[in-house]
Amino acid sequence: MQCQECGKRPATLHFTKIVGGEKTELHICESCARDKGEFIPGTQGGFSIHNLLSGLLDFEHAGAGAAKPPAVRCDSCGMTYSQFSKIGRFGCSNCYKQFGERLDPLLKRVHGNTVHVGKVPKRAGGKVKTKREIDRLKQEMQSRIAREDFESAAKLRDRIRELEKEMGAG
């Protein structure tokens, strides 16, 4: 792959920038990157995924003139939201809970999603599994009601009640 700038040297740096959902790509060589003042990984002032993230997280600068939101601080590790937005990494698992819905725009941008649907730990995840099963059954029940298949919908309703009782007891 040739450098997009000089077209002479091979491109060794590959940037994918996603700004406001718009994706741009840049393939350039190190020397052009230096000339352009782009960041080179592994060098002073290097560009890493965390720099990129902190750019995404820096909402406080984004809305000019907007009132500064009150400082949010994780009560377990002491990391503030603004520290997190500079470093691009959480201090502890509790930060997720503490920063709450503020994270949604970031997660949406990085993953296109905000909710986990994959593997669940066997021991700790019993309830999560049950809850997912309930969600699934509810959807199924709705579609059966829509098809006017009330008999089997009623069976599903009973199964959902059972599971909900289990959840409450556990």
Binding site: M1, E25, I49, S93, H116
Partner: protein, 354 residues
Amino acid sequence: MAKRNFVKHALSQWMQKDGPESDVVLSSRVRLARNLKGSPFPMLATPAQSQEVMDQLLGVAENGRLNGLGPLELIRLSELTELEKLVLVEKHLISPNLANESRNGALILDQQEDVSIMVNEEDHLRIQCMRPGFQIREAWETASLIDDVFEEQIDYAFDEKHGYLTSCPTNVGTGIRASVMMHLPALVLTGQINRILSAVTQVGLAVRGLYGEGSEATGNLFQVSNQITLGQSEQEIIENLHQVARQMIEHERAARSRLLAESRTRVEDRVRRSYGILSHAAIMDSKEAAQRLSDVRLGIHLGLLPQVQAKTLNELLVSTQPGFLQMTYGEALHPEQRDVTRADLIRGRLAVSS
């Protein structure tokens, strides 16, 4: 000082075997990021806290729970020399981050070296499984089983909404990074690679060089991996990667056939030239070595160099890296001496295999 097992051989045991589609795919890898509940992530952990995490995680191996993997080596990074760490990085057994930045970092390694479990990297636990050739599903299955073993013993940081909680928001959810290492010389030679790589990034995958994030794609080796970890199940992530990689394999093969059909003599010349230079040169820098070894690898799979084995090339890929060279030939090699030593080594290996 006795040499540790992992520095004795450049080629890990698992790489000795040929995997499926090994004419294009060198290896498949899955890594899972996990953290312990109630302990700050390694970046903020005090030495005492990270020590406790290490004891707990190594404990799982020490109490025999991982015996299904065969004999294991438990390595504390503090026991290693800088050079030994570099060799581990060159063999893809640990990340540069674990080698250089970790506190109370440790590694659990099996004899095949296809399972390497990192402790106190960016996350408390990173389970990595590798397979030769195109076996991304198999790598995921093994990683998931090891994950289950840890989960029996340890409370993970997990929440219903965000899944497995990780230090970096780019890993949260499944914590999975699945990747395939592909050799794509014909797509590069025929100028199709840019188009393909940019198409690949459109479907949520990333392309990197041989040594991951920030590394250059030398020797036409490309590492294709998933970007998204949240909102898709592991199966969906693996299948997406599998299908895209499968198409890339077909494109590369088609480009190879076309090269042979349309410009056989020129390709043959290129391959033989590189083989000749590698077999006779006295100075070989790492960049040239990577390019020439790529030509020879292409030659093998086009049936132009029956005298060379692909295995020899896989070994040279690691043994010609700076760390491994210094480990084999003495610690203080100048870059120039290194290029001479590299040339010697390659000449020797190609002579033996022919």
